[in-house]
Amino acid sequence: MTTEPKKNPPLGRVIVITSGKGGVGKTTSSAAISAGLAKQGFKTVVIDFDVGLRNLDMTMGCERRVVFDFINVIQGDAKLKQALIKDKRVDTLFILPTSQTRDKDALTKEGVDKVLTELRAEFDYIICDSPAGIEHGAQMAMYFADEAVVVTNPEVSSVRDSDRVLGLLSSQTKRAETEGSDPIKAQVLITRYDETRVENGEMMTVEDVLEILAVPLLGVVPESKAILKASNVGTPVVLDGPSAAAQAYEDAVSRLTGKEVEMRIQGERRAGLFKRLFGRAS
């Protein structure tokens, strides 16, 4: 495998996918965003920072192919290129799984820095899938980031935790500590958005969430059956056929790369009247 850098130097952007709260869709979003970027031709790697609770490999469908992991690389037991798993569907996509057996103290700041520096020289986008919480693993995932995607559900504890994480991003990261460098560009990605419940006043609106968090919006991913189905089969949702969720992620990915895409919120339940009366929700 000769992966010489292409004619243009790689972008080398490090993006952390974080949230504070667990179960809001960090890994799903990491998989979808990294696959979406790779689909657009960017050389992309997605790294699992959840040491001890490896799950990105299952979401990406490469769990049977893990030989070496992020921790092996940090500890010098394997070279980076040996631990990178090349995706079988998109040839610009790579996965760096984490260890299932070590604990999170194995993530040293120096080790993470070394791996990310090496990846920056080779990849356009480096997506860091953060563990839940705000402890060591999550801090390591965000420390070297250039950008952050804060995954938030329109629900009180998720929004509260996102606010906390936004505070950490602007204080406990390399960019925050380095004088003269731009702060991390943080954007919120609202997931599990249910327009019907919003209309009924049972769920906070996008505007409500943005008003509280006061950061730009990257996208709105509707509650969608396509998400569980994609996770069942180990395929990032953007590679698993058309769906409202896939479209929302594709739009978010385009915005990440700097394209202007109109914000459209399309729920799966917004089917036409005919379908609503006679068809089955699919």
Binding site: M58, R65, F68, D77, K79, Q100, N232, V233, G234
Partner: protein, 91 residues
């Protein structure tokens, strides 16, 4: 009923795929070798590099170990980049 089951049969249900994937993975992770594996693969790789170096000068990164786990059997793929023969003086 038979008509419906016919239309439904077209593709396997994703829930079944999820269950199958988990069973294969967890059977592996629960076994004693699952935990030890993280340690033996790097060592295996080091040994392979050392063995080949007895005969051919290769670098640490010239050996590539890949694995594909299946429910019946797993395969280990080892690729070794050998240096071009005939240029040994310089470099």
């Amino acid at each position: 009923m038979s008509l419906f089951s016919f239309t439904r049969k077209k593709q396997p249900k994703s829930a079944q795929t999820a269950k199958d994937r988990l069973q294969i993975l967890l059977a592996h992770e629960r076994s004693s070798s699952g935990a030890a594996e993280a340690d033996y693969l790097p060592m295996l790789q080091r040994d392979i590099v050392a063995a080949i170096r007895k005969y051919v000068p290769i670098g640490d990164t010239d050996v590539d170990v890949r694995m594909e786990r299946g429910d019946q059997m797993s395969s280990l793929e080892i690729n070794i980049d050998l240096p071009r023969i005939g240029k040994s003086k310089d470099s």
